[in-house]
C-alpha cells in the first residue's frame, strides 16, 4: 500500500510560485513576440471623412494607417502618389529606412519589393514615371505624422519614395514636398522594425497594401 504523502505548506508555496512564474514567463513571451498587441487597428469604414477622395489606407503588420492627402498644397506630389497607389505599386514594399521615433521611409518600388529585395540598391530605386518637381513653397507644419516625398540631395528629384515622420521636424519645411498627414494609426508605424546601428534595416518590415479609400 502506498502511503499518501501530504505536501507541506512550504512545498505548496513553492508550487504556486513556480506556476505563477510559468504563467508570467509565458505571457511575457507572448507580449514580446507580438509587437502589435497594444496597437489599435482602425477600421477605415467606421470613420467619417470630410474629403473621402483624399483618404489613403496603408496596411502594415500591426494594422491600418489612415492618411489624408493635401492636393491643394502639393498637387503634383499627390497626383504621383495616387497614381502609384492605383497601380498597386506600393504593395509589399519594404520600410527600408527607419529611424526609431523619427521617421519611416518606404516606396522603393524597384529595389524594395518583398520577393526581389536588393539590399545593395534599396533606397535608390525609381518608378519609371520620372522625377517630379519639389513643391516646397507653401507653408506646412511638419509635425508628427506628416507624410512627405523623399528626394536625393537635389530638389526636383522626387519619384516614388515617401516618408512619414514620427516626431515634429520643423526643419523639413521648405526641404521636402508634403503630401499629407496620418490622421489615425500612427502607432502602427511606431512598431515598424528598426536597426540600432543603422538607418537602413536588414530584413525589414513591409507595407502590405496601400489603397485609396474611395
Amino acid at each position: 500500500m502506498i502511503k499518501k504523502v501530504k505536501a507541506s505548506l512550504h512545498e505548496k508555496l513553492i508550487l504556486i510560485f513556480l506556476i505563477l512564474l510559468g504563467v508570467f514567463a509565458l505571457s511575457f513571451a507572448v507580449i514580446i513576440k507580438n509587437k502589435c498587441l497594444f496597437v489599435k487597428n482602425f477600421d477605415p469604414q467606421k470613420i467619417n471623412y470630410s474629403k473621402p477622395e483624399n483618404i489613403v489606407v496603408l496596411n502594415a503588420e500591426c494594422g491600418n494607417v489612415i492618411i489624408e492627402l493635401y492636393p491643394e498644397i502639393s498637387p503634383n506630389g499627390v497626383e504621383r502618389f495616387k497614381k502609384l497607389i492605383n497601380s498597386e505599386s506600393y504593395d509589399n514594399v519594404a520600410f527600408h529606412r527607419v529611424i526609431k521615433d523619427k521617421l519611416v521611409q518606404t516606396g522603393d518600388i524597384q529595389f524594395g519589393k518583398k520577393n526581389k529585395i536588393d539590399y545593395g540598391k534599396i533606397g535608390t530605386g525609381k518608378s519609371e514615371l520620372g522625377t517630379i518637381k519639389s513643391e516646397i513653397d507653401a507653408e506646412f507644419n511638419f509635425d508628427k505624422g506628416s507624410v512627405g516625398l523623399a528626394r536625393s540631395l537635389k530638389y526636383n528629384t522626387e519619384d516614388s519614395q515617401f516618408f512619414i515622420i514620427l516626431d515634429d521636424e520643423p526643419l523639413f519645411e521648405g526641404e521636402y514636398t508634403p503630401i499629407g498627414k496620418v490622421i489615425y494609426g500612427i502607432q502602427v508605424l511606431e512598431k515598424i522594425k528598426y536597426s540600432h546601428r543603422s538607418e537602413y534595416v536588414l530584413r525589414p518590415d513591409f507595407v502590405n497594401t496601400v489603397r485609396m479609400f474611395k
Partner: protein, 242 residues
C-alpha cells in the same frame, strides 16, 4: 582583466545605443549643431555650434563653439544684415542655413566664412575681424551667389577691366595682400584683398555696394566693376536693390 570588462561594457554600450538621428546633420552634414532660430522673415534658418566640429573629406574645416552672449549679440548683427535679402532671392541663390561658430579655419588658415552653395549653407566665424564683420557677411554671401551663377560672373570678362599689366594671385591665400581696409584712393580695387583673385575682387565690390560705404569717383576701372556687379545681380533678380 579590468580592461577586458571595460571593453565589454563599452562594446555593449555601442550595441544598445540607437542610431544617431540628428536632423540638422542629415540636412547639411555638419555635426554638433543646435537650432538657434527658425522663425525668420526670409526663412533663413540659424544654427549654432554646441560643440566644436570638423568637416570635409580631410576633416580640415574646423570651428569651435562660442558662448551664449556672443551668439546672441552676433545673431542680431547677422540677421539684421541678412534680413535685407528676400525669401525669393535667397531661394534663387540657394542659401537657407546660417551656421554660427568661432575660430573657423580651413587647413589651419583662419577664414571669415565658408559658403556652400550646394548644401545651401553659410558658416560664419563670429570672432573674425570685428571691424569688418558686417561687410564680410555680404562678402561671403556673394560667394554663394557666384558659385550658383558661375557663367554669369565671367572671370575673363572681369579681368579685362583691370590694367593690362595687372595680375591676380594664383589663389586667395597665395598672396600676402589680405588687408580689408577700404582704400582712400581706390585705383581699380576697393581693398588690398581685392587683388587676390577675381572672385574675391567681385565679392569685395559687392560687399562695398551693399554696405554703401563707397563714394562715386572717377575711378573708371572700379566704376566698370560696379556696373558689372549691378547688372549681373539684376539678371538674377530684377527687383534687387543695392
Amino acid at each position: 582583466m579590468h580592461m577586458r570588462i571595460f571593453k565589454l561594457v563599452l562594446i555593449s554600450f555601442f550595441l544598445i545605443t540607437s542610431a544617431n538621428s540628428n536632423s540638422i546633420y542629415n540636412l547639411i552634414k555638419i555635426p554638433n549643431l543646435e537650432i538657434y532660430e527658425l522663425k525668420t522673415p526670409n526663412k533663413l534658418r540659424y544654427f549654432y555650434a554646441a560643440k566644436p566640429f570638423r568637416l570635409g573629406v580631410q576633416k580640415n574645416i574646423v570651428c569651435n563653439n562660442s558662448d551664449q552672449k556672443t551668439y546672441d549679440k552676433k545673431y542680431q548683427i547677422i540677421s539684421n544684415n541678412l534680413n535685407r535679402y528676400s525669401k525669393e532671392f535667397l531661394k534663387k541663390i540657394n542659401l537657407k542655413y546660417i551656421v554660427m561658430c568661432e575660430n573657423l579655419s580651413i587647413s589651419g588658415i583662419n577664414t571669415a566664412g565658408i559658403p556652400d552653395h550646394v548644401m545651401k549653407t553659410l558658416i560664419i566665424d563670429l570672432k573674425f575681424n570685428e571691424k569688418y564683420f558686417e561687410r564680410v557677411i555680404h562678402h561671403e554671401l556673394f560667394h554663394i551667389i557666384n558659385d550658383g551663377f558661375k557663367k554669369l560672373f565671367n572671370e575673363d570678362e572681369w579681368k579685362k577691366f583691370n590694367e593690362p599689366n595687372f595680375k591676380y594671385a594664383e589663389c586667395s591665400t597665395c598672396s600676402k595682400k589680405l588687408g580689408l581696409d577700404t582704400y582712400n584712393k581706390t585705383n581699380g580695387f576697393f581693398t588690398e584683398y581685392s587683388m587676390t583673385i577675381p572672385s574675391e575682387d567681385m565679392a569685395e565690390v559687392y560687399s562695398h555696394l551693399i554696405m554703401g560705404n563707397y563714394k562715386n569717383s572717377d575711378d573708371k576701372i572700379l566704376n566698370e566693376k560696379i556696373k558689372f556687379i549691378k547688372d549681373k545681380l539684376r539678371k538674377i533678380d530684377s527687383t534687387f536693390v543695392f
